[in-house]
């Protein structure tokens, strides 16, 4: 092993981690605001992948423009899903929300399998790359990393600078108090869920620009998202990004030292250990 390999692995881990982070951010936002573990997260990631695939292959829309359309689509779908599947059970014990979101996942995957089968798809699309010795950094990966950062920054600006963003934060801290301020908490919850879903779909679309996928691909990212959220602290959007980068680095750098197939053992063992020892995440204060 030499320095070049190590540097290459760190860069690729970092870029991959940013995508992982974006995939997990929606999950974490929804958890933070609604205290709901969204088991339809993976299904919506897959939906994002197929949306960009349809936009690109059928309508010839440039993927990074398509992402904006998908953001809107995700927002609408998320809000519909909230009122259709979650609104009635939002105050029920977590089992109800777990199963409600899982049933949404079944519905999406069910129709998805019917329409798309489980054939893998890929976007034949390239932005070139940067080369230095044996280090190759792909344009699409860099773009994906940059877009992930942009979306995270935008999300933070939205949460801290805008009126609905502040309302989301208020609702996440204390729903009753938010109601006292005249905030329609149902609308805010729906909005949060919509944003969470929109981010999941955008993440799916971005992943589709770098990796092949099937309708079932979302499941893997959903599980990874759990690990990421726990690493970075459940409920904290920025934590998701940090957790994502941590996971990306673990996957790319640790792989150099151990048998690759042991990485998931490490990841999930870490998930359980952190939950038990430090539930606020690696970064969390308390």
């Amino acid at each position: 092993m030499n320095a070049e390999v190590l540097i290459d692995s760190i860069i690729s881990g970092l870029l991959l981690g940013l995508v992982y982070g974006l995939a997990a951010i929606g999950l974490n936002l929804i958890w933070g605001v609604m205290k709901v573990i969204n088991l339809s997260h993976g299904a919506f990631i897959a939906l994002g992948m197929f949306s960009i695939w349809i936009l690109y292959t059928s309508f010839g829309i440039f993927p990074y423009i398509g992402i904006i359309m998908i953001l809107g689509l995700g927002l609408v779908l998320g809000i519909i899903t909230y009122f259709g599947a979650l609104h009635r059970v939002i105050d029920a014990p977590e089992l109800s929300t777990l199963l409600a979101t899982f049933s949404v996942s079944l519905i999406i995957i069910g129709f998805g399998t019917f329409i798309f089968k489980t054939n893998p798809k890929a976007l034949d699309f390239s932005l070139g790359g940067i080369e230095a010795g044996s280090i190759v950094i792909l344009g699409t990966k860099v773009a994906t990393g940059v877009i992930s950062i942009i979306f995270t920054v935008l999300l933070y600006a939205f949460l801290y600078k805008t009126r609905p963003g502040k309302a989301i934060r208020a609702v996440s801290m204390n729903r009753t108090a938010a109601e006292l301020m005249g905030i329609n908490s149902s609308l805010i919850l729906a909005l949060s869920f919509g944003i969470g879903i929109a981010l999941a779909m955008v993440a799916g679309a971005l992943i589709a620009t770098i990796f092949p996928f099937t309708i079932l691909s979302g499941g893997g990212y959903e599980l990874k998202s759990f690990v990421i959220c726990v690493l970075g602290g459940l409920g904290s959007p920025i934590g998701a990004l940090v957790g994502g980068i941590t996971l990306g680095l673990i996957e790319s750098v640790v792989t150099l030292g151990i048998q690759t197939s042991f990485v998931p053992v490490l990841e999930f063992a870490l998930l359980v250990a952190i939950l038990v020892l430090k539930p606020s995440g690696l970064l969390g204060g308390k």
């Binding site: 390999v5 692995s9 092949p212």
Partner: protein, 439 residues
């Protein structure tokens, strides 16, 4: 709201009613296709009206795509046979038409035994075809064996099913132990300077057994295996893995797993400009969608059970001194295209061949009796559009020993990516090109 509740409740009560019915012998779920009203007595003793073939297919879940192709192939065969009046059964002195019954196994092992038990004891299937994939076939085999029903296994390449003492399971596919050995042969013949191989595989049942066999074969042939490592199913980023491979500096990379990981792996090897003579991957290159990755697919090779360009001809059969049975490759491809609108892949060919081989065995045996048909299969040596087929009689009873893999390579002609058969040399449609020629 109240109304919905009531409706749901009624629905539930109705379902409870249905559920209780399971307990009564009469009512069970109906098969997906309507078959003969009832075949109460065993077919071998009565003048059978129809030959019923039973199998489970994966209409949902991860095997959905492959299984669908397999069924398509089978249905085409059934259509063809029935168009000619059916299979000629000598004992009955007439042709008997074929029908089938199938259920969805959801790509999961849980239901397979239930389905095969139902096919045998309730639907009275005369013969069985395996589910798609080795794992599901292994579960089904126990039931088939227990009731002495012949099961033709297609879409199941594992060797390990066949040293478990089964006497009624016959494999169509080249077993996994020989999946990538042709790639090793190809490498040694065409690139004699290449000495170092990296064998990397997906950590799953199928890929692992292929990799194990390939490793010992490569070492036996005097190649140096410089890296032998697995990656997790569902891996999407191979960057570090490829770094590891590059550090070992191989002349060829052989391995892979299933489609998605294979496609990703190939794409990322290209992106990292890995300099090797041969890249040979399981499953992915043989699938038409592999072309979606564009330039990355160029010069990638992979084993395939069957290709439309395959040269399994009557002349070849004559040369070997065996019978040629069923349609020619061209006929099969043409008919399949006409019926489904696209070129068949090997899963579809396997599905057709499963029916074909049963037909041949029944005609040879001249009866529908399971044991006689089994003997016919045991002694069968036949060339078909799918290739030469023969089954092992020894420790691995029923394992395929006749059929060979072809190696395909994605090459360019007129700016279009096209699959070419590059191995075995006798059936090759084009010469193999070194992988690093593309850079």
């Amino acid at each position: 709201m109240k109304k919905i509740l009531v409706v749901l409740l009624l629905l539930s009560v109705l379902l409870v009613g249905c559920a209780q019915q399971t307990v009564q012998p009469s009512a069970t779920s109906t098969p997906t296709t309507q078959t003969t009203p009832s075949a109460t007595s065993t077919p071998s003793t009565s003048a059978a009206e129809k030959i019923l073939i039973g199998f489970s297919e994966s209409k949902t879940g991860k095997f959905n795509a492959e299984s669908k192709e397999q069924t398509n192939g089978f249905l085409l065969w059934m259509e063809n046979v029935n168009a000619e009046g059916g299979i000629y059964v000598k004992d009955l002195g007439k042709k008997v038409k074929v029908s089938y019954t199938s259920y969805d196994d959801e790509s999961s092992g849980e239901r397979v035994q239930q389905i095969y038990a139902k096919l045998i004891s309730e639907d009275k299937a005369d013969f069985l075809i395996s589910p798609y994939s080795s794992g599901l076939t292994a579960s089904a085999a126990i039931i088939a064996e227990q009731y002495g029903k012949v099961m033709v296994a297609t879409g199941a390449a594992s060797d390990s099913i066949f040293n478990k003492g089964y006497q009624h399971v016959f494999q169509l596919y080249t077993p996994s132990s020989r999946y990538l050995t042709s790639a090793v042969d190809l490498l040694q013949t065409k690139f004699p300077d290449a000495k170092k191989v990296a064998i990397v595989y997906e950590n799953s049942k199928f890929a692992k057994s292929v990799a194990q066999a390939t490793k010992s074969y490569a070492e036996e042939k005097g190649l140096e295996v410089v890296l032998y490592e697995a990656y997790e199913p569902g891996t999407t980023d191979f960057t570090s893995f490829i770094n590891k491979i590059q550090a070992a500096n191989p002349d060829a990379i052989i391995g892979g797993g299933h489609f998605a990981d294979g496609e990703t792996f190939a794409k990322q090897i290209f992106e990292k400009k890995v300099k090797i003579k041969l890249l040979s991957l399981l499953v992915a290159p043989a699938v038409p969608e592999f072309a979606e990755i564009g330039d990355a697919a160029l010069y990638v090779t992979g084993p395939s059970q069957w290709e439309p360009q395959a040269k399994y001809t009557k002349e070849a059969a004559q040369k070997m001194g065996v019978e040629f049975f069923g349609p020619t490759v061209e006929e099969f491809v043409k008919e399949y295209k006409a019926k489904y609108g696209y070129e068949p892949g090997y899963h579809a060919a396997g599905g057709y061949a499963a029916g074909l081989i049963l037909q041949k065995a029944i005609e040879d045996a001249g009866t529908l009796d399971s044991e006689k048909v089994r003997e016919a299969l045991e002694n069968m040596k036949v060339m078909t559009f799918f290739g030469y087929l023969e089954f092992e009689k020894g420790e691995y009873y029923g394992r395929q020993i006749g059929h060979d893999m072809v190696v395909i390579q994605w090459q360019e002609s007129d700016g279009q990516l096209k699959k070419e058969v590059v191995w075995p040399e006798t059936g090759a449609s084009s010469q193999v090109i070194a992988y690093d020629e593309k850079y």
